[in-house]
Point group: C2
Chain length 612, copies 2
């Protein structure tokens, strides 16, 4: 069975040293943050993840969710493990105090969410979706609904879901068929079929709160008619007690490649009672000009997009989390498994063979994974923290900058981290040789589980199109310029030769990225096919450079610590070495990516559709 | 359920047009080869693959092999489908006539093996291993054993296996513990445990012929004591009838990520009777100088290596075969599934949305897969055919050249084709979005099945080490020079501007490959760690350039056909376009690969083993 040990030292490095969150006590939520508090949070959550969640990961996969007599049963032990997370207060660590949370920085919540995802990705999906749904309700639900639903969701008594996809429509929401018909009492009758609903049914909570997109009857046929509804599995009385069931039934659950402990439900809504989230369109908008309606029903969609942005960051983090746990097991295996001798002569002459960790290519694989895990984690947590600090401390320009960076990099975090995460998990499996293919080692489960992250919350190709088609173009490319100037500025600040091994490759990567951005600006505005043709390679280039920026910053911190004579010298030397690895063996990817991105759309568009 | 249609037109293009096998009638085995014969073979095998094998692929995965009361049961229908392949004569298509085969060119056998692997990889493993084992017996078994075993293996009444791996040893054969003790009658008693034995037990044949590596008692402890033995599951009387069981028992079968219809057995040998293949060491070699023994027992090992080389090519082809069938299903899905509109405006305005095949990035994925499938298939078949033609027609220099190319590229075919094949199969799954993750579509099975090919027959990292550590260095790098001069020569022959879009990128890739080879020669000979550190990137570069060479050659053929006014213009135009795709979007990889390969070993070797 694979093992998991929360990377507490790494997380402390990012939180306390790279981000220095203990120096932000003037920011709301950061007031109580100290080294001790960080330790207590990390150690406490690690205990639940390592001791309660991780041991259920493999059994959860073997057993899977079962659909019996119309009800979904989660794998054995999941209900208690789910409860343990909530009872320990880990769900609400960075939620508002008024809703029962602890109000700590979001970045701390992210840190412990990594542990949840590494230890048991399937189980973490229930918690993640519930948290996302509760946040949407906190943001946009009418007060009465908030009071009725949010506390129960925060306590884990009820869970939440997000309902977008229908059998014939995923990305293209305007094809949606689920209908909402307003009732006399102001509620809506929701009818239609939703698929791929994560946590859509299960037996770990008393009730499930579905957030459902549906087209409102009488408000048109296009995207402007789509609004968001709260639809409980079981109706709720005004005093918060459960009433009778709503007309929501689970039709089946999907048989999937992985995350088998996470139920993926087909839900049928048959005039189920729902509450509209967000305002109705203003009456005047019901006139002839359909386009004006958008503003009116926009709040519900905005809520859904808020949840989706959060979910994209969460899914991006899944790529890191699985790569981390897979790395840990690969590293342990390569230190134990013996075969052959080091190329430079036996390193363990007393043993019949050397452990395979002595081989350069095995080390290459391990460093490839580490350089992703540590670099991507730093980028994701920096992005979250930076947005908070910038919005609190900054002037208007800085506020704009952090907002731009955050919005720009969401699809990069989602797609790049899950693409590279999947590559890394496969690399970890590869370290096991043929044994990696055998289920008992658990490595192939990580591969199967990780694969979903590239597909859900918008397939990665859609993320890339979102990046080049929408986010890059905002205000003439202001967000991308914010990223470029941030990196250039950091490079310019580094005067000493000690940083040259990091800043030179970073500059080369940045140059490739800027050149490709310029190329896109010149070519893709007239011809949108060029944007699509370049999108995936461009996103990967941006991800590669952004993670490289983090590696340069981490190298700076490590050099400073060594200068200061830290007593954890080995840690910082390894950090510097991994930074060197990234600069020497990952950053060069931008050279090829640039050529690919600039190869143009013509060859792609030439064939007739039928020629494929 | 996924579908499969044998790529007969593509195979005809490679066989008849690129390789022009119908013009080689002067070569033994090619005498009867004509367009009609090629069609008959391809169409006949396609029928079995499409109609009998493919429909059992998904059910075979769901059901898997079962281990019941010490016996392995293959999935329902496998036995009949297995029999259909042999009864149709497809197993022996390119086997010697004297052993019941049809004696046709090996390249035709390869072509139909692709169909077997695409339609049902699990089932194909039994056939592939049996054929490999039979070939070893034809080569090195004493005549009496040949007569007794080979005909039954050729007819499919018995199957064969290859037994190398033990629980504690895979790549490093000298750690082997299985023992062979000579008996008074000249047979050997074999004792030990072998794992990961593909087809090691099943109920589709009357007997199973195990080829087993074991250390001969009294011949030392190192690799020189390892010899190869024929050990039947059930002993065979001199008249060919079955006697009683041998002491070979199946302990269990592995629960694997994929190829679940292929049984992977743990076999226990408890003084099982085996026949030594290859000569005993000469008596004088039993003196003090253990090293001299190698020659004596070498024939058995040579037989095993022959089987392994064949198996590596077969496994390399698995990468193509799964990418091909996955591509077919992805292409069909993207032509059907609708979402959004083409970036340049609706292409199917009568429908509510365009099929996703209109999107440049979807086309990029499809062309990426195609460019691999067609290029890699051409390289593999060219390599096989070229070796035959060169050995038959060539002078000594040419004979040396084709032998060099073949030996050099075996690890490239094995590792590069399975690495890229796995990437392509994942890309095909990605085309399905979330639906790709659902088992019923069958795409995730292709991913799980394809994953093994990177691991078995020597993990891909081991292939890369074999390439740089052994094969590149042969006679001061003569094989690599043969490859370089072949490609340079082809480029030099192309005078017209029409080939420039292909030869220029090919030359750029070749330059990167030659520069890296030079760097390796200068750095890796003094420091073997440098060879290991560069190995995987170097292998990928060589594979990328070699496939690119095939694309340039295929472009030449397509241009000639178009010049000639072929009536299949669409086919050749698509071929040229896919060649352009490869040159514009795959060949540029060599730029980054060169930098990575030259990044050096120092950063890899720095960390202590415990630091990982």
């Amino acid at each position: 069975m694979p093992s998991y040990s929360a990377p507490v030292r790494e997380l402390r490095f990012v939180l306390n040293e790279l981000l220095a969150i203990t120096e932000c006590t003037h920011i709301p939520g950061y007031g109580e943050v100290s080294d001790d508090l960080v330790d207590a949070v990390l150690d406490g959550a690690a205990k639940v993840a390592e001791e309660i969640w991780a041991p259920l990961n493999q059994t959860g996969d073997e057993e899977g969710c079962r659909f019996e007599n119309g009800v979904v049963r989660a794998p054995s032990g999941f209900k208690d493990a789910f409860k343990a997370w909530y009872d320990g207060g880990w769900n609400g660590i960075s939620s508002p105090v008024e809703w029962g949370g602890q109000g700590l920085p979001g970045v701390l919540g992210l840190a412990i969410s990594e542990m949840a995802m590494s230890s048991n990705l399937s189980l973490s999906t229930y918690v993640g979706l519930s948290g996302g749904a509760a946040s949407v309700l906190m943001s946009i639900a009418p007060d009465q609904l908030k009071q009725l639903y949010v506390p129960k969701m925060m306590s884990g008594e009820w869970t939440g879901t997000m309902n977008l996809t229908e059998p014939h429509c995923g990305t293209d929401l305007k094809l949606m068929r689920t209908k909402a018909v307003e009732q006399d009492d102001g509620t809506y009758a929701i009818s239609g079929t939703k698929i791929f609903i994560t946590g859509g049914d299960h037996d770990m909570a008393e009730n499930i709160v579905h957030l459902v997109l549906a087209k409102v009857e009488g408000e048109g046929e296009g995207l402007s008619a789509v609004s968001l509804f709260l639809v409980p599995k079981i109706k709720v009385n005004d005093d918060g007690s459960l009433a009778q069931g709503n007309n929501v039934t689970c039709g089946s659950i999907e048989h999937k490649m992985g995350i088998k402990g996470s139920s993926t439900a087909v839900l049928h809504y048959d005039a189920a009672i729902g509450h509209r989230l967000g305002a109705k369109p203003a009456p005047k908008a019901e006139g002839e000009d359909g386009k004006k309606k958008k503003r009116g029903s926009g709040a519900g969609m905005a809520g859904m997009f808020q949840m989706m942005n959060g979910a994209r960051i969460g899914v991006g983090y899944q790529g890191i989390a699985l790569s981390e746990v897979a790395y840990q097991n690969a590293a342990a295996y390569t230190r134990e498994r013996t075969a052959g001798r080091a190329l430079s002569g036996a390193k363990y002459p007393d043993q019949p063979a050397d452990p395979i960790v002595v081989h350069p290519d095995v080390r290459r694989m391990l460093l490839q994974m580490r350089s992703f895990n540590e670099g991507a984690r730093a980028l994701l947590m920096w992005l979250s923290h930076e947005a908070v600090v910038g919005r609190h401390d900054g002037d208007d320009e800085r506020k704009q900058q952090v907002s731009d960076l955050f919005n720009l990099l969401i699809p990069v975090v989602k797609a790049h981290f899950t693409d590279v995460g999947f590559e890394c998990v496969n690399m970890a499996m590869q370290c096991f040789g043929g044994h990696g293919y055998i289920r008992e080692h658990g490595m192939e489960q990580f591969v199967r589980d990780a694969r979903i992250s590239q597909l859900y919350e918008g397939a990665n190709g859609v993320q890339a199109l979102d990046l080049v088609g929408r986010r890059m173009g905002v205000d003439n490319g202001r967000p991308a310029r914010a990223l470029f100037s941030l990196i250039s500025g950091f490079i310019a600040e580094q005067k000493g030769e000690d940083m040259a091994p990091f800043t030179k490759p970073l500059q080369a990567g940045l140059d490739d990225l800027m050149a490709t951005t310029m190329w896109l600006a010149q070519n893709a505005i007239q011809n949108h096919e060029e944007a699509g043709a370049a999108s995936v390679d461009f996103l990967r280039m941006m991800g590669t450079v952004a993670v490289g920026y983090m590696w340069a910053r981490m190298a700076r911190v490590a050099l400073d610590q060594l200068d200061r004579g830290s007593d954890d010298e080995a840690f910082y030397k390894m950090k510097l070495n991994t930074a060197r690895y990234y600069m020497g063996r990952v950053m060069p990817d931008t050279a090829s990516l640039k050529m690919r991105a600039m190869a143009g759309a013509e060859v792609l568009m030439m064939p007739d559709d039928e020629a494929f």
